[in-house]
């Protein structure tokens, strides 16, 4: 549900007029995927970008829908194509191996296969496709640079900066670096080839990219942040090029570790082992859920009547999946 002006939620037939689709979907509505075996195929993961979305299934690959003006849906850019009320759902099959994770940036898409390789397509003016050029790519192409030959276990992106985590705990980054996200390796503001980021923060388990700031979680459960904006270490830390650790005491008692990290455009969310949710960042229209409308400069616990299992952040809203304590 949500915005459907570019058919990123596919054609949602309107009840008043069968030829028209809803521009705003206000309640959870099913998306009709063109599956060959609809009874057996299951959807594993979904990801949403600014105006496009990707759906990952277990047997039938990746489906993409929505805006394709920069090739982010993985098909040829058609001049003058009208994306609203479009029925087009594209199935992507040009991958060497099975895709296990899909990530949508603002106007680009990243795919990770089980071999540990990364493919990308979409807008590349900030180098976020990581293919060595700043042009638009409409076919998913494998990434080279420092990630060639490395087994990548997680990819993250939100706006125009991308991070990848290898199985040995190394971090690779490419894309926009206007906010010092990649300033440790280069002074240019756009990086179009994946570069290894030599941070000494232990073995990295998970990475998350926000609009202007990035965060990683290492094996011991510590959260490191860098970039620009409200990073979570008080109002004095507004930008940094090297990762700074957020004191674990802010995430509840010191014996419970953070197990999952998520970024929105200017918010961060962390989940600890006890199922508690901690948020910080800009509180756009109260998206942090802390009961106040002011920005939160350090991690603050959200009172939720249950154990939080998963969390996802949008531009100005946040969704959590909660399990009851029983």
């Amino acid at each position: 549900m949500g915005l459907n002006k570019d058919s990123q939620l596919s054609f949602q037939r309107s009840r008043k007029d069968r030829t028209k689709s809803y521009e705003y979907v206000l309640e959870p509505s099913p998306i009709p995927l063109p599956l060959e075996k609809p009874q057996e195929t299951r959807v594993l993961q979904v990801s949403c970008g600014r105006a496009h979305s990707l759906v990952l299934t277990d047997h039938e690959g990746v489906f993409s829908m929505g805006n394709n003006s920069y090739g982010q849906c993985g098909r040829e850019v058609v001049e003058g194509e009208i994306y609203s009320e479009s029925h087009v759902i594209n199935r992507l099959q040009e991958f060497d191996g099975r895709v296990v994770q899909v990530v949508c940036g603002q106007d680009h898409s990243l795919f990770r296969t089980e071999k540990g390789e990364i493919y990308s397509c979409g807008w590349g003016a900030d180098g976020q496709t990581g293919l060595g050029h700043y042009n638009v790519t409409s076919v998913p192409t494998k990434l080279g640079g420092d990630v060639a030959g490395v087994n990548i276990i997680q990819v993250a992106s939100y706006a125009d900066c991308c991070l990848a985590v290898s199985d040995e705990g190394d971090i690779f980054g490419w894309g926009n670096s206007e906010y010092l996200q990649l300033a440790c390796v280069t002074e240019t503001t756009q990086v179009n080839v994946p570069r290894h980021l030599p941070f000494k923060i232990g073995k990295v388990k998970e990475a998350a990219c926000g609009g202007t700031g990035n965060a990683v979680l290492n094996e011991e459960g510590n959260v490191f942040v860098w970039g620009y904006g409200i990073l979570g270490k008080g109002p004095n830390l507004l930008e940094t090029a090297t990762p700074e650790m957020i004191p674990p005491t802010l995430f509840g008692s010191s014996d419970v570790r953070v197990k999952h990290l998520c970024c929105g455009l200017s918010q961060f969310a962390a989940l600890n082992e006890r199922g508690e949710l901690f948020v910080w960042g800009k509180n756009i229209r109260g998206c942090l859920g802390i009961g106040r409308m002011e920005d939160q400069y350090f991690p603050w616990r959200v009172t939720i009547p249950g154990e939080v299992v998963a969390v996802a952040c949008g531009v100005d809203h946040m969704v959590t999946l909660v399990k009851s304590w029983i």
Partner: protein, 382 residues
């Protein structure tokens, strides 16, 4: 040495003093009047026991003497409980126990006493310097060192509750005020029962209402608990008097010191359900500035929110600041050695925790002080 007037029983009998007519002995029977001082103004007497302070007779003699002398005043009523040989009596016997430990040896001074010394004409009587213990330091003169010990109580625990109860002994009573000002949180396990409502919110009160509770599920209970926690959270910030957008707030939060700094109504910082087996349930509550009756009222209100009723069956404090159950002394362990050991063990923790919590308050006060000075200087210079 003759007995004073009116008493034939002998010089050491307490009755002797009661009969004497010196001013300090009249009407101040059980007070700690240091008679030794007042005696200076009394007529000089050669009777040696008149120089003995009256206090000596009120010393903590284990057994009948203590109880007879301490009875009467309301403040010490609890000390007159007949179990003086048992658990409570241990607190009375503390001074006695302390007295039985090794005491300081008496001071020595040099006196010139007449003595025989080998001189030119045989044995001569000359002053000979001898080192003698000072009579004023003799235990029979000054009396036992400890007659009473001040025992102060920490946060109140009412009669129907149980758990950790912090006491301060002697000089430790000062630390009790520090602990109070540090506004530590306390942990309680509260057991409740659905289906009944009584007038004093506990199961021993007068029954007012009985309701059904089959519709109550653990999920609903948890939702209510989350609401309680959330509403108390906001109150926590208001009374902490701090703007969350400042660096100071961040630093306090890192250290875990974001707490009310002044008197506030009872606040619950964390509440969760430990067990749920209708009609019984058990909650763990972490709170500040509360009373046990307030916790019982919370249980009652939870019952009302769930469209049923509830009473509280047990309130047990499991932690008071940094004193936890595992360090607490059981009733059977209320004796001299255990109390001493407990004080020694916790001394370091108490010091560090109080410093941590009160340190930042003092620093804040110091900064304010500096600012005020600067303002005054500014005014003066005009």
């Amino acid at each position: 040495m003759s007995a004073p007037d009116g008493c034939a029983k002998g010089p050491k009998h307490p009755a002797a003093f009661r009969h004497s007519s010196t001013p300090c002995c009249r009407g101040t029977a059980f007070r700690d009047a240091p008679c030794g001082r007042k005696r200076i103004s009394a007529p000089a007497q050669e009777v040696w026991w008149d120089l003995i302070p009256r206090r000596i007779w009120r010393s903590e003699v284990p057994g009948a003497g203590a109880m007879a002398l301490h009875g009467g005043s309301r403040r010490e009523a609890w000390l007159t409980v007949p179990g003086r040989g048992g658990a409570l009596g241990a607190w009375l016997r503390l001074p006695g126990g302390l007295n039985s430990l090794e005491q300081r040896s008496p001071r020595q001074h040099v006196r010139f006493l007449p003595g025989f010394v080998e001189g030119e004409a045989g044995k001569e009587l000359t002053p000979v310097a001898t080192r003698l213990p000072v009579l004023a330091d003799h235990p029979l003169v000054k009396g036992p060192r400890f007659t009473r010990l001040k025992v102060g109580a920490g946060h109140r625990l009412d009669v129907k509750s149980s758990g950790v109860f912090v006491l301060g002994v002697g000089q430790g009573c000062r630390l009790l005020t520090d602990m109070y000002n540090a506004h530590f949180t306390k942990d309680y396990t509260v057991r409740g029962l659905f289906g009944k409502a009584t007038d004093d919110f506990s199961d021993t009160g007068k029954l007012i209402e009985k309701t059904t509770f089959d519709h109550i599920t653990r999920e609903k209970l948890e939702r209510i608990l989350a609401v309680i926690q959330g509403s108390n959270h906001k109150a926590l910030l208001t009374y902490a008097n701090i703007d969350l957008k400042t660096q100071e707030a961040y630093e306090l939060a890192v250290k875990g010191l974001l707490r009310p700094t002044e008197k506030s109504p009872p606040l619950i910082t964390a509440i969760r359900c430990l067990e749920f087996a209708p009609p019984e349930f058990q909650l763990e509550i972490q709170c500040l500035h509360e009373t046990q009756q307030y916790l019982r009222k919370i249980v009652h209100e939870i019952g009302l929110e769930l469209k049923s009723t509830a009473v509280c069956t047990q309130v047990r404090r499991t932690r008071d600041g940094f004193f936890t159950l595992d360090k607490a002394l059981l009733r059977t362990h209320w004796d001299m050695e255990n109390i001493q050991k407990a004080i020694q063990d916790s001394r370091l923790t108490v010091q560090t925790e109080l410093e941590k919590s009160l340190g930042h308050l003092e620093r804040a006060a110091y900064d304010e002080h500096i600012e005020m000075d600067q303002v005054e200087e500014g005014d003066a210079s005009r």
